[in-house]
Amino acid sequence: MQKGDLILKLRGVTKQFGAVTALQDIELDVHAGEVVALVGDNGAGKSTLIKTLAGVHQPTSGSIEWCGKPVTLDSPGTALELGIATVFQDLALCENLDVVANLFLGHELNPWALDEVEMEVRAWTLLQELAARIPSVRKPIASLSGGQRQTVAIARSLLLDPKIIMLDEPTAALGVAQTAEVLNLIERVRDRGHGVILISHNMEDVRAVADRIVVLRLGQNNGVFTAETSHQDLVAAITGATDNSVSRRMARKLGEPA
């Protein structure tokens, strides 16, 4: 896989939940060594798109190509095997299992006689890379803070050395240092030649790492931008109007005497 090669290609992907059309005719390309940011308002369909790629939801119609070949992502296992790893917005961790068990869930070392020592060592190494502040990897997930859980979910996505990592608001609950580490990590993953899809509501983070910014609005593509695009233009694309609550608020702020 060369840097710049097309890994993932979506055309006309539509997803309906009964009467709700969550995604309509979505187009998306992800290349090797590229960070694609996926932005949009609440309910725009970002998580639904990611879940479709993770094999959690099946698209109602449309085609997905993986490294030039059409694929059907009929289960999360299929997506993982292809090399699509996901950090879900709701994290999807098992609260009754400890950190090590969650990290290796579904991919334990030595399936007939679990190698707990080796798994624990790998867990600590991985967590240290993320500057994680986790007191013990032998405590159940239920005892961790929101940010610690998020770190565990991110660490888990890295475990299988995927070709594409999809992160759904990975830094929403993270502290400053941990957010910086996640951004560093995204860049490291990209430099290794993997693709990254990042969902975030934080435009600063998005601009810091994204090569392209794909905007979704009401389940449809609403333009592709770069980090150089002005803030107004991005907000306009996200909200669908140049006159929106963000711009009005800005104008009010500027108009007010200091």
Binding site: G77, H107, E120, P140
Partner: protein, 407 residues
């Protein structure tokens, strides 16, 4: 202890080292609602105290030997119940399945003249098939296991036995001997009592070595020695006491082997990890690439197969297959044993050992009440009450765990 250890970097965590540390960690766990085997051990002590004061025969070695004979069949059934409970499912047809299986053995072996082993294997396969049906109903049609197995409870009837209603198993056959007289030789019993401690020590030392090499913390040798020592002494004492009577029944030994095997499978294999994951959060398990449907299917099949094998054990204990087999309090006892032993009704928590400890409690109650000449309906009521207490303890512990962040 240096700070260089991988898992000792966070200064906020109290690291419990040595014996006192292990004890402190244990007390912490219990306080937060992670009760483990504690309630069942306390319950057992109480039961022993009450029944032995009411009737000293209760503690006579041979009475305890009989108790173990009686415990094996329902214990096996309860072991299957642990599997489905771990997933947060239930199987209410275990009693009927065990009855059907004993009838199958009677019909295939005694009436049709097939070899005994073929009949037993046939009965267990029938169990697996019934479990597969439940699994498919749950997976394909999302039918709650409670409903599917309730239908099974009523549907798995013993028409096989015809109008006579019962088949006597030949008294001199190995199957009946197994259920009534076969006792492990003393040396084997003592060996079996020593093995767990020895294995614990061996694997503990190996893990310790590996953890040290990997720069991970490992609890000291003293903890390991005390644990292994306590287990060995306790088991040896039990065996020595039983040897004053007839000794340890083979039937109970075989049951214990099944418990050990399931315990290994649940704690040390990919399958077991997946079981706990599906029980804790099925959607998270699915997204990790685990085939939730296969795990469910395997649990239901295992449960029904163990229920069928339990039915064979019961038939061998009673030397007959009758229409009464698997009715009455079999369901109640098997499910109660798993829950009393500490397997949660809510899924995701439990252990194979809970079947063994739980069934000993149940059988002790039933045995004690029989010695007091109490009627069977009273026995049901008391067992039911004990189950209710166990469920309350389970719910309270669950709430406490939630507030202490232990899931």
């Amino acid at each position: 202890m240096t700070d260089a250890q991988l898992d000792r970097a966070d200064s906020r965590v109290r690291h419990d080292e040595g014996l006192s540390g292990a004890l402190r960690a244990f007390i912490d766990r219990v306080r937060s609602g992670d009760l483990g085997m504690l309630p069942v051990l306390i319950g057992l002590a109480l039961i022993t105290l009450v029944f032995s004061t009411l009737n000293p025969v209760f503690l006579a070695p041979n009475n305890l030997v009989n108790l173990l004979f009686d415990a094996a069949a329902i214990g096996l059934i309860s072991l299957g119940v642990v599997c489905v409970l771990l997933l947060g499912e239930i199987d209410l047809s275990i009693g009927s399945m065990s009855g059907l299986s004993s009838a199958l053995v009677g019909v295939l072996w005694v009436n049709s003249g097939l070899p005994m082993m073929v009949a037993i294997v046939g009965a267990v396969l029938a169990g697996a098939a019934v479990g597969a049906v439940y699994g498919v109903l749950r997976n394909k049609f999302e039918m709650p296991s409670f409903v599917a197995t309730l239908a099974g409870l009523l549907g798995l009837q013993l028409y096989l036995l015809g109008s006579t209603g019962s088949i006597n198993l030949p008294y001199t056959s190995p199957l009946v001997k197994f259920g009534q007289i076969l006792i492990m030789p003393a040396w084997l019993s003592y060996l079996a009592a020593i093995l767990p401690g020895a294995f614990m020590l061996y694997s503990g030392l190996k893990t310790m070595q590996r953890r040290r090499a990997a720069n991970l913390f490992s609890p000291g040798l003293s903890v390991l020695l005390v644990k292994a020592g306590v287990i060995t002494v306790a088991l040896l004492a039990c065996v020595a006491y039983l040897e004053q009577g007839r000794g340890v029944p083979y039937m109970f030994g075989v049951f214990t082997l099944f418990v050990v095997a399931l315990d290994y499978a649940l704690r040390r294999t990919h399958w077991g990890r997946s079981m706990f994951a599906v029980g804790g959060n099925a959607e998270a398990a699915r997204r990790s690439g685990i085939s939730v449907k296969k795990i469910r299917l395997s649990a239901f099949m295992l449960c029904s197969s163990l229920a069928a094998l339990g039915g064979v054990f019961a038939a061998s204990r009673l030397a007959s297959a009758s229409q009464q087999a698997g009715t009455g309090d079999v369901n109640l006892n098997a499910i109660a044993a798993a829950v009393i032993g500490g397997t949660s009704l809510f899924g995701g928590r439990g252990s194979a050992w809970s079947a063994l400890l739980g069934i000993i409690v149940i059988q002790a109650i039933s045995n004690g009440l029989t010695l007091l000449n109490l009627s069977s309906s009273l026995r049901y009521m008391i067992t039911g009450a004990v189950l209710a207490i166990a469920v309350i303890v389970d719910s309270l512990a669950r709430r406490s765990r939630a507030s202490h962040g232990r899931a």
